[in-house]
Symmetry: C2
Subunit: 457 residues, 2 copies
């Protein structure tokens, strides 16, 4: 069979890059679990009617059919999920009787969209989602909780600085209501276009589609320019002279989010900042309070690398409503461009920290037992594939990035030796006590200074 070529939109990683992705996923999982979030994994398919939003089905869904099915029974009625929220909402409804609420879960899985691929947007992509879901009600403090958890989780990764830009739907809606805009929902939809269209065009759209006067449209735009990280937020909004109960509640919530995250942000040492940005609306209609989008410094072209918010009805089975608040982080969207640009890399392509050398084929069992003694102490290793000259065995280790080569004693009574092939230092060693430096134990994420010539995307 001929050499296959990559499929556009379905990126795959070489082993060293995959080690980076695994380390990122493990770090995120550890933080989520420290905060009491339980992991779940949902099947990749959902009935098509579940994937429909408000009766309409997005065009980018992949639908499954069995290859050998009859023409008449062509489709299975199943499509692949395009995010992790739809399957999670279904899982909550299906298993509500077996879950304790508030239910905290995290989920790190791929999702699929049949759209045209571009940098940061793929047909298969991995997401990391956290959500807290309540039964009938979910107190506001969980909004602060998910923000703090995601700040801590992403603050633990060696990524370029991340900016959490937060807003509150109640604040926007209340402001528009207090201002007297006739169609508040339409106004939010227009304001959401500010990252694509010039302000004047959006002002015109507000007049045309939301029934705003030119003055009202102007004040909506003024609100949307507010971007602060501290208490001046309240003054800045109040200075616009609009009063409304919903506005006040939204403003108080947004202030609480900023306050609640302050110490978590400080602990990230500049890796993560959180600020109020009053033009963030998020297009999706189901958000009802806190909304957040996450941007990565130097990668603004990717748009947001994560986002989420509060939805008062994540799921509803006709009798019970399940409100939720959550944030999704785009693992593929973030890592694949960083790996391609050389901003992140894996320190090596194999888990092995040690290559156990092989004197001759007959002594393979000796080398294997030796390797097993190191493994029993948590040191990943492999035995040389062939009893070549030691120089060639060392080059074999070098090509794989294995830092140490272990030479079993040539004679009984002699001592084993281990060589650090980077420094060339070779010392006597005992498999019962020797260990590599902690940093060499497993592949790690390295952040080389990117070579500008390779930075092509």
């Amino acid at each position: 069979m001929a050499k296959p070529t990559p499929l556009s939109g379905f990126p795959e990683l070489l082993p060293a890059a995959r080690a980076v992705e695994r380390e990122v996923i493990d770090t995120l999982s550890r933080t989520f679990e420290l905060h009491g979030f339980a992991n779940i994994e949902t099947r990749v398919v959902e009935p098509l009617d579940r994937l429909a939003k408000g009766g309409e089905i997005d065009k980018e869904i992949y639908v499954l059919r069995r290859l050998q099915a009859d023409e008449s029974a062509d489709d299975t009625g199943l499509g692949m999920h395009f995010d992790l929220t739809v399957p999670f909402a279904r899982y909550v409804l299906e298993n509500a009787g077996h879950l304790e609420f508030p239910f905290r879960r995290f989920q790190i899985q791929p999702a699929w969209r049949g759209e045209r691929p571009q940098e940061g947007r793929y047909r298969q992509f991995t997401q990391a989602d956290i959500d807290v879901v309540g039964k009938d009600e979910l107190p506001f403090h969980h909004d602060v909780e998910v923000m703090r958890v995601m700040v801590q989780a992403l603050g633990g990764l060696p990524l370029p600085p991340l900016s959490f830009q937060v807003n509150n739907r109640k604040l926007i809606q209340g402001f528009y209501l207090g201002l007297g805009i006739p169609d508040v929902t339409a106004a939010i939809r227009q304001i959401d276009k500010l990252d694509k269209l010039p302000a004047e065009t959006v002002a015109d759209l507000l007049v045309e589609h939301a029934g705003a006067t030119a003055d009202q449209a102007g004040r909506c735009l003024e609100l949307a320019t507010i971007r602060v990280a501290d208490h001046t937020l309240v003054e800045r909004v109040q200075a616009l002279g609009v009063t409304d109960d919903l506005l006040s509640r939204g403003l108080a919530e947004l202030s609480s989010v900023l306050d609640g995250c302050a110490d978590a942000v400080t602990a990230t040492d500049g890796r993560v900042t959180v600020e109020a940005n009053l033009r963030i609306a998020r297009g999706l209609d189901y958000y009802t309070g806190t909304v957040v989008e996450i941007f990565m410094e130097g990668y603004e072209r990717l748009k947001s690398v994560g986002g989420g918010g509060r939805y008062d009805a994540l799921a509803d089975d006709g009798r019970t409503t399940y409100p939720g608040v959550g944030i999704s982080f785009g693992v593929s969207r973030t890592l694949i461009p960083l790996l391609a640009d050389g901003v992140l890399a894996g320190s090596r392509a194999v888990p092995s920290a040690v290559l156990v050398a092989l004197a001759d084929e007959e002594s393979r069992p000796v080398s294997e037992r030796l390797a097993d003694r190191l493994r029993a102490r948590g040191i990943p290793c492999e035995v040389a594939p062939a009893p070549q000259k030691y120089g060639r065995q060392i080059r074999y280790a070098e090509r794989r990035g294995i830092p140490f080569v272990w030479f079993p004693a040539a004679q009984p009574g002699q001592s084993d030796e281990v060589k650090d092939i980077r420094s060339g230092d070779q010392v006597e060693a005992d498999a019962a006590s020797w260990a590599p430096p902690e940093d060499d134990l497993r592949p790690t994420i390295v952040t080389p200074t990117p070579d500008p010539q390779e930075k092509t995307q």
Copy 2:
């Protein structure tokens, strides 16, 4: 929207059961990495022509089409992989220039088959595969290696006893050749039916389809009854009076596999046994040497829960051949029946080891800071969702299986206290030094004595 019902063949786990699956996957991954196997993850789709085996496409493949595609461009030409071997072979060909050979990889991912679901057979199921792949050649010692690694990996899991039943295609082929059977391949295919059909029927099939005489068919069946774990293997086969070079090579290889696994088997303390079973053929045509199937005690009805072997051409791009040897373990096939039967369970549904109690809503930040101090020391915890009476907060912890409740000091100068809610013991504690017993730190796999009444499947 109405309460959804489960989709047949697409099992999903509740959080406590998912904790079991995660622990199993983590344990397997750790062992694979200790042996130098690198993890990769492949996309879920392959071009349909890659999924075809020998030109024919299995009927159970799920094919993707975009929901809103034109009728004329109905199919994407992509199907979902039905195992992890096909995508791995393609990955090796596609990336051969970037890989070092022999290349050891493990892969733990779902696969999909559109077939009728039954116990242990699902439409979506997770597999854990290890393979070693060489370029042009792959020495035999890697057959022993993958067997040893899988024995160690599965021996580290709290499963019912597992039996690795090993054979060698060269041994069977050589025996049939030495015996003078006209169609060796057909004979292997018939012998493979011994687990479904009575011996006499298989003897008739050997005569009918493989051109064997009645005497030859009888000796084939005699060979197939040999089942031993030690050196008597060689005598037993030689006693059948057939001599052939290929037979001798296969017999030597099979003996080496048994020998090479002996110490690894001993170390599992009875969890894993390895024996030669000369009726194991494995239906797939591409095996060329070692073949193995894994069975689980008390779950023989599942047939094998894993298997694999040596294939001299895992992949081939017309210029280079990539031989391989590997074993696949059915994670879903094994765990889902064990979880359903109550043989395995998760100790709790949440990661939290500690619930930090809440005196009143105003002191939430105090409880949050306290929780963060425990988290910084690796102790998963959550803060009570509401400032209910402490008795109700304790019951909240109880319902989730959280073993400890932490009571922050009521007054400055007083001490915090922590209660083990199982024993009722409550002691003074300091968040800078207190830790739960190791076993309580995270959810663990427990093996309750199953209630026979619940064991319904």
